[in-house]
């Protein structure tokens, strides 16, 4: 496949696959609560994930190792198991959030409560992975995921003041409700810097057999793909600011969010919202389930591969099966999907140092990346954002829990 085609496909995947339950809910809630003020965590988070995704791709292309594989080799099984447990736990909660999102979309479409949809959704996600033709599924889901661009359209229709948006790309202090502000900021960063994104991207680069010649392609896809994706999240926040903040309405239920599109776009807005939520979360659910399986299988040296028949990679298959089963079960219990989503995002931010520092160390180890090591700016940016996000999360999460979300 020509490199240009690869770039195009990669961009589509990056843009179409960026928005999911986490970025949608956190951006919408933040827009409703604080207007345009919380654009800066989206910017920070997007910059961070763009760096990390690029690193994941570079690691795969140069070292020919996937991230979990390299981590186990470099740090030994003990440290690896700590990272494994942390990432699997957090990823599992995010997976459940995505299944919750799809179920909610179906509730909005049909009126049947989301928890009854959970088993159906889980089965559908599982079936698509079981069919082991993930390349097709992924490209299809990402292409369909471009429907999330409707949020950008809506933002234009709502006449979002773009210069005001731009002004808030830099961090600012809250004028009211400090605890909630920082909790939201941290959740937004957690939503943008989801580990599954760079783990999955790295595995994809190995499956596609990337080598050093793909480093340029990698940079373009990571930078522009994530960049545009972040732009969609900003559009969600801006739309929510226009529709909710101006009226002083807070978002605390998923069912309110469609108004964001319904107001500027009428009935079609509602339909496209349901489609966006469902498709975006579906694509993410597939990737996260696979990523959990990759992490375990690659860390322990088992056979793995998204295009292998289940009987050819039985343990790998078992891992994603159990992950999806449990995630579906969690949503079936009726837990509030919005609360679960926001909380998982905050938890992701909290766990960032553990998930990110090993990758950074690998990216500076000539044994793995040869002369293609990290520029010190990339290290500094990612390290800084991760550590600050973690520290803020340590403070903000308990405060939020005590204050009642």
């Amino acid at each position: 496949m020509s490199k240009l085609l690869e770039i195009a496909l990669g961009l589509v995947t990056g843009i179409g696959g960026f928005l999911e339950a986490g970025s949608l809910s956190t951006s919408a809630q933040a827009g409703a609560a604080f207007g345009f003020q919380l654009v800066w965590p989206i910017v920070l988070g997007t910059v961070c994930i763009a760096f990390l995704v690029e690193m994941g791709g570079r690691l795969a292309a140069v070292s020919r190792h996937t991230l979990p594989d390299a981590m186990r080799e470099r740090f030994g099984v003990r440290f690896f198991s700590v990272v494994l447990v942390a990432v699997v736990l957090v990823s599992f909660l995010v997976l459940a959030s995505e299944i919750g999102g799809i179920s909610l979309a179906l509730q909005l479409a049909t009126g049947i409560r989301f928890q009854w949809w959970a088993p159906v959704v889980a089965l559908a996600v599982w079936l698509l992975l079981w069919a082991h033709n993930f390349g097709l599924v992924e490209k299809g889901a990402s292409l369909l995921g471009l429907v999330t661009l409707v949020f950008v359209v809506a933002a234009f229709r709502l006449h979002v003041p773009v210069n005001e948006l731009g002004a808030h790309a830099l961090p600012s202090l809250p004028q009211h409700d400090g605890a909630r502000y920082w909790f939201m900021a941290v959740s937004i960063i957690g939503a943008s810097v989801s580990p599954y994104l760079f783990y999955f991207y790295s595995a994809g680069a190995i499956e596609d057999e990337w080598d050093e010649s793909y480093l340029g392609v990698n940079r373009v896809i990571a930078g522009i793909g994530m960049g545009f994706g972040g732009g969609i999240a900003v559009a969600v926040l801006a739309g929510a600011a226009m529709v909710f903040h101006s009226r002083g309405i807070q978002i605390d239920r998923y069912e309110q969010i469609p108004l964001l599109l319904a107001e500027p776009l009428g009935r079609w807005g509602f339909i496209l919202f349901v489609a966006s939520l469902g498709i975006a979360c579906f694509g993410a659910a597939l990737e996260i389930a696979l990523q959990i399986a990759y992490l375990v299988a690659q860390g322990f040296g088992w056979k793995w591969g998204e295009n292998l028949k289940p009987s050819e990679a039985a343990r790998f298959t078992l891992v994603y099966t159990i992950a999806i089963l449990l995630a579906g079960l969690l949503i079936f219990t009726g837990i509030d999907p919005l609360k679960l989503t926001i909380f998982s995002m905050a938890l992701t931010a909290l766990s960032l140092p553990i998930t990110v520092v090993p990758l950074l160390i690998l990216m500076n180890d000539p044994q793995y990346v040869g002369e293609h090591g990290n520029h010190w700016i990339a290290n500094a940016a990612v390290l800084f954002i991760s550590i600050v996000a973690c520290i803020v999360a340590v403070v903000a999460i308990p405060l939020q829990l005590l204050g009642g979300s």
């Binding site: 070292s63 020919r64 190792h65 594989d69 186990r72 080799e73 030994g76 099984v77 003990r78 690896f80 198991s81 079981w130 069919a131 860390g299 322990f300 040296g301 088992w302 056979k303 793995w304 028949k309 289940p310 009987s311 039985a314 343990r315 298959t317 078992l318 099966t321 044994q367």
Partner: protein, 118 residues
């Protein structure tokens, strides 16, 4: 070369290039007045678990005895059968003929294989 750096926790591939597991352990033979020699590589059988914590390994092994394949022995690869050490460790064996895939086969036969379409 440095053993921990270059061999331990590396991916092992058999002579057909199939994934066999990770180097969970390495056994050295002490020979008194002669330099110790690298005797063999070990895959599985609770070796990795022991490195995490011996108690964890005991708990895991107890659980594994009740469930799982009968042939749950670690794969012992004599050093003489190591062909190449590079991106991964290539060995002169057929993974199928070892216990490397005992668990893979067990999961396939008892769980995954029972679902239609596997």
């Amino acid at each position: 070369m440095e053993l921990g750096h270059a061999v331990l926790d590396q991916q092992v591939r058999d002579r057909k290039g199939e994934l066999m597991g990770k180097v969970d352990g390495i056994v050295l033979e002490l020979r008194g007045s002669k330099a110790p020699r690298v005797a063999r590589l070990v895959i599985g059988g609770g070796t990795a678990a022991r490195r995490i914590h011996p108690r964890f390994a005991d708990w895991l092994l107890g659980w594994r005895r009740r469930w799982g394949p009968k042939d749950d022995q670690p794969v012992e690869i004599p050093w003489s059968q190591v062909l190449k050490i590079g991106i991964d460790v290539k060995v002169d064996l057929d993974a199928e003929r070892t216990s490397a895939w005992a668990w893979e086969a067990w999961v396939r036969d008892h769980i995954i294989g029972r679902i239609p379409g596997a």
